[in-house]
Structures are given as C-alpha cells and as structure tokens.
Symmetry: C3
Subunit: 304 residues, 3 copies
C-alpha cells in the first residue's frame, strides 16, 4: 500500500509521473478514521464514507475513507452519490465540505481496476457512475467546499473542481491536475468544460495537452484552487469559509449557481449515452488496455 | 440623506453589506454641481444629467447628478438614455466619459423604489429602461470610459462594465461589484454575461454567488477595473486615456467592438420580453417584496 | 530595406506605430541563412523556407527566411503551407519549431503588396492562403512551438498564436500583437477567436480595439507568450521544451488538442467563402485602399 500511496505524491516528470494518474484500490482494508461527532450532530457512515452533519449550522462534512487512496471505484462512487443525494434531499443541510481521511491524498482519481480487463458492460456502468458523481456535485444546490488535504490527480481534481470553493494544503509534495494524457487517456469534454470554467481556455489547453500536475503554489497561481493553508488548517478553514457562504440567501445563490453552470451540465445531460459509448469504445481498445496493463505492472513492481 | 450616502461606502459583511446593494433616491434635492463649460464646448443639462461636450476634441463628459447617490430610477435611466442617444447621433462626438457629481458614489445601482410596492406594469417599464441603458451603453459606437469616482455597487457596477475602460478612485472606502444575491435578488443573464466578458467565468461565479463587493485594489487585481488613480485624478486620467483611444480610426474600432460584443447584445435583444417577464414575476413575489421592505425599513432606521 | 526592418521594431504610438502593422516584401533578395544540417537530419529548402528535420528526435525546425521581414505574401504563405503539409504527412515528424532567420523580426505580418492595388480576384487568392495557413497550423497534429526571436505584429502574432507554446526573446525593442485597427483594418473573427482562446475575452477586447503591440514583458503578463528567454536562447529553449511535450503519448495529446480547438476551426471551415468575400469587399474599398497607399508612401519616405 505504501507504494500506491507514494504514487500520489508529486513526482518528477516521466514514468513516475504516470503513477499519479490513476490508482488501484486493491483489497481495501477496513481502515477508518475515528468519527469525531460534535454535539447536536448526526454521523452516518457507509464503509467508505463518513458524513458528519451539524444540524445547528446546516453544514455536513463528507470524509472519504476508502483506503489506501480514495480511488473512485464503481463501488465508492456509488457510495459517494448516495451520501450526496441524502444530504441534497435534507432541506436543513445547506453546505457540504468534502475532504479525505486518508493521509497525503484527497483522491487518487478513477480506479484503474474498473477499466482494465473488464467487460464493456462493466466499463459502461463505471462511466455512468463517474458522470453521475459529476452531475450531482457540479449541480448541487448546496454550498460545496473541497478541503483538499492531499494530492488530487485526475478524477480527484475533477471532484474538487465541481465544488464552489477549493482550499488546498500548502504542502509542496502534493499535486493537483487532470493528468490523463500522460497515460494515453483523454479527458472527456465535460472534464475539459469544468476546467475551462475554472482556469480559462489557455491554461486548460496547456494542462490537458501536457497532463500537468500542479504544486499547490502553481495551482493557486492559475486559479485551480482558491486558497492555500497549512495542512492542519484545511478543514477548519473550510468551515470558516462556509460561514461566509451561509450568509447569502440560499434561493438567490442557488439560482445564480445554476445560471453559471447549467449550460455545461445540460451538455453532458443531453449526451450521456454517446459519452458512455465513446468511453467504452476507447478504453476497451487493445492499445489502451495494454497501456493500462503496463501501468498496473509498474505499480506492482514498485510495491514489491 | 447622509445615512443613505453612507450606505454606499464599503462596509463590513452582514446586514450593513446589504445597504450598498440598492438605493432609494428619496426626494431628489435639486443639488447640482456648477457647470464648468470650456471654450468651444456646449453644455446640455437635464435635471439629473449634465453633459459637457468639447467639439474640438470630440469628447463628451456625462456627469450624473441625481442626489443623493445617483440611484438608477426609471426617471434617471430615461434621462441617461436620452442624453446618450443625442451624443450617439452627433457624428462629431467620438468619445464619452461617464462620471458622478455626487460625493463618494459613482452610482448606487437600481432604485429600489421602482421595484417595491409597484404594479407589475411599473416594474416592467422600469426593467425595460434598465435593459435599454445596457443595450445603448454596451453597444455604443463611441469610445466609453467610466470615471468611477466613488462606490459602484450592483447597477452602478453594471454601468461601468458597459464602458470600454474603467478608471477607479484609489480609495479603500469605495467598493464595486454585482452584489445582488446579498439581498436575495439574482443578477440576470446579461449582467452575468457582461461580467464574464470582463473578469472571466470563475471570478464571476464567485462574485455573483457571494454578491462580492471589491475594494479598488481587489477590483484591479481581478480586472473589474483597468486602472486606479488618486481620487482627484480620476476625471483627468479619463481624458488623457481618451486621447489614446481617439488615435484609433473610428470605423475599424467600431467594427472591432461590435465583433466582440454583438453575440452578448443579440442574446438580450432576442429575449427582451421574456427577460422582462422573468424580472416582474420574480420581483413581485411576496418573499422578495418582503425582503425589499425590510431593507427599506433598515435604511430608514439608519437615517433616523 | 533597413527602414522596413525598423518598422518592425517597437515604436511610440502614432504614425510610426502604423509601421509595425503590415509590411511590404519588396524585391526579395535571395538572402538565405546557411543551412546547419545535423547528422541524421534532412534539410529541405524552398527559396524562403528552410526546414531542418531531425529524424532521431522527430522534430523539425522551420526557418522563415523571406527578406527582409518575413512578410506573409501569397507566395510565402504558399511555401509555408507546402512545407507544413509535407511534415504533417510524415508520420515520423512529431514536433515543429517555427522561427525566423531574419534579424529582429519573427514575421512582420500580412504583405500589404498583396492587398494594395490588386484585383478582387488576387485579394481573394491571398486571403484564402491566409486562411489556409491558419487552418493548417491551428489544427496541426504535431506539437508546434513558436520561437519568436523578433517582433511579431499582426499576421506574425497570429502565426505564433496558432502554436501550442510561445517562447519570445526578452528584448524590449521587440513587440507582439494584433495591431490591425491602427491602420483602419479589422481583425477577422478567427483572429479574434484565436486571441480570446489565448488571453481571454477582456484582454482581447482591449488589444483589438486599440491595436495594441505588447513588449515581451507585457505579452508574458497577459499570457500572449508563455516564456521569455535571452535572444540567444530562444531556439535552444524551444528544443528543450519540445522534449517535455514529446513525452506525452501522441494520440491522447492530439485528441485533446482537437477537443480544445475544433469548435474554433469548424467556425472558419464552415464560413471560408463568406469570410473571403467580406475581406475582399472591405479591402478593395476606396477609403481602405487610400489608407494602405498612404502607409506605403510613408514606408518609402522613411526608406529614402
């Protein structure tokens, strides 16, 4: 596991760079962070998600705790979506902080094991779950803040970009970015659209073509994250920031958020099936499967 | 009046923040700045607008002098549009500087009294005038420079964003921004489009969701204004800047401006009626009227 | 020729500013930089283009050597496009560096002599060649890096903006920008689209309305170029940068590049004829021809 974790730290370009791309969840040990349940708070916990909801403030904190690196597997994505949906339907929940209970990593991105050696049907199911996660988070009526307390490559970066605000740990060993091209994979149009809306067209063109992973300082500079704080302060800063957002009347804020994001959401919503088909056709290609296989082998060798 | 004026200064977040949102014109005293008429210049003055046109340079200066805070009421918007139209039709007028004769404020934005307790018909008339102002300024063939010599929240910010260049007084007590959400109101899509074209998608998303008012320094940083100068220098700097713009052949500049702005203008032009209906339906809601009423009450209490 | 060269250096605003706009190729002397042919490299040379292709790295360097200032004439554009097409079809060529063999200038932009006193038919042919150049470069499957080792106004700026990365000589006497309006000409929509994708909407609006030429430092600040290095290091830095881009799998990079640029390319591809007609109608106007004539006269007077 140590090797897989190391894969999420920022590394020099080249082969090791690939390691931060995708991740493999392995046999997820039932490691779980102790639940810190505040007064007047409820805490609901699936195997891999712990949600602390503070009724008095109307703010929930979603802790991702899927060892070792919060890989976004089909199973984990499903858990995440169910947890989000519950909060979304609870009118007393106005804000959501997303963070990680795993050391050094926010989320290592999409789980390679759901794309490698799997049937087209499985790949399609997996991709629908990725779409679902994006649609639910990007379109959430809640105030969403990403407390990025570790590395956040690929799908991890996407998840953080769906939020309304991003606070990252100021540790130069961490990195964030959509690095898909490094493994020979292409970020789909809605990953691209989300990034363009966050950092603009030119920065996205560079980032996606080169599969760039940014240090926290670089990410702040291009606007990929909004604020850097010391590692220990990420979650508390998220909570403080939330207070500022909670001061805004919900209805006006929600309509405004929808005005900004609806065109991008509608684009995927109108093309989900075609997008799934594109993904399955691409990912099941021999050449791509071979790349994924080599990547997995490399992960194993580093682990040994 | 003093209290209402104070409402336009930059204040701490919270209730007082709301005060900078919209404004109420009250019984406009016939206060008027003395007209400084240069040689070979003509000066035409409605009650609330004074226009100095220098034939030799081809540049007009429009002084907004609607006490206390240049609230954009139906009446004032009509005056502004008539003045603009006159200049637009005068082929010898190539450039327009817009500024305020009121102390400490450029314009406090849309006049709340034209939205509160009014018939749907009145609200519709008012909104058409707001549209008209935006369409005329954003699509003006003249070079337009905003000399922002005071606070400029909401509609005041919109007016300045329609110009080709924005110079703001470097006084940290002033602020500028589209802060509609703070009062539970939503900036319409063409306010949003104008801001996206000025500061980009991400900065707009943050600004509109949070209803942010920026200090001059912050506004410069995100590109909401182009230049800061000392309060005393705003108007002269605008005139100097105009000289640079006048060096460009009009026809090429106008075609270029139109190429940049026409898609955004066409979007509203094609949807004016629907946009009016949306506004009227929204603003006449009980909940929104109640918010406006509470806001007016608060203004009165502060005055007393 | 010396005067024409000087026209490409950065000058004060006003009449001399016009000089950097367009250029006139004159009777192109057969001046040619000596071919430095590396081992295992092939070098193909038209009269005005020298291409060094290093098979081992898969990188070609295109030296523009059309004296005095690499004006983009119909003839030169044709040469450039033929050279690019050859490289594009050679699957072993993965990257292309574009640079100038002429001192102090990358390219002075579109050749005024192909627009002045010419038949509508000639102007149409010329404009089709400009379109072709843009379509081929902006849509190239190769990694393209502009080694901007001199001034790059108007069409020269456009050429550099079609590349994936721009490295400019850090010499404050050089400038870069789309300065068409200064001569009374309007940059067409696809020039505008390319610039918006590079520096964003607001910077483009200012740049195009004012016909701004930026110093290298200013160009870096707004993102018009990506990196500044000493004049002597432009080409070697381009080669080093290329290595980083070559590390990315071609197929994923190409699909990503296409995803970013296809909408903009499709817009021109679907409107080429109308765009040609617009250009011909505009450029053959008496008023525009008169401007071009006065500009040419001025060039001659400065030369004498």
């Amino acid at each position: 596991m140590k090797m897989a974790l190391r894969a999420c730290l920022r590394t020099k370009p080249g082969l090791t760079g690939l390691l931060s791309q995708l991740s493999c969840s392995g046999h997820a040990a039932a490691r779980r962070a102790p639940a810190l349940v505040a007064q007047r708070s409820s805490s609901s916990t699936s195997q891999k998600i712990k949600v602390d909801f503070d009724q008095s403030s109307g703010v929930a904190v979603m802790h991702m705790q899927s060892p070792p690196v919060n890989s976004l597997s089909l199973e984990f994505l499903t858990d995440v979506c169910i947890a989000l949906e519950k909060l979304e339907m609870d009118k007393s929940c106005r804000g959501l902080v997303v963070t990680s209970s795993q050391p050094k990593v926010f989320s290592a991105g999409l789980d390679i094991l759901d794309m490698y050696g799997k049937s087209p049907e499985h790949c399609a199911e997996f991709w629908k779950a990725v779409q679902e996660m994006w649609l639910k988070f990007y379109g959430s009526n809640m105030i969403t803040i990403a407390a990025v307390n570790g590395s956040s490559p690929a799908g991890g970066c996407l998840l953080s970009m769906t939020c309304d605000y991003r606070i990252m740990a100021d540790n130069p060993r961490y990195s964030i970015g959509l690095n898909e091209t490094k493994l020979g994979i292409v970020a789909p149009f809605w990953f691209k659209d989300t990034m363009v809306s966050t950092v603009g067209h030119r920065a996205t063109e560079m980032a996606l073509q080169l599969g760039l992973l940014y240090s926290p300082a670089e990410a702040l500079k291009i606007g990929l994250v909004d604020q850097l704080v010391h590692e220990d302060q990420v979650l508390t800063t998220a909570t403080e920031t939330m207070t500022k957002w909670l001061a805004i009347p919900d209805h006006a804020r929600q309509l405004t958020k929808s005005m900004m994001r609806k065109p991008t959401i509608d684009k995927l919503a109108a093309n989900r099936e075609a997008d799934v088909n594109n993904f399955v056709k691409f990912i099941t290609k021999d050449s791509i499967q071979k790349s994924l296989g080599m990547y997995l082998e490399m992960l194993k060798r580093r682990k040994a």
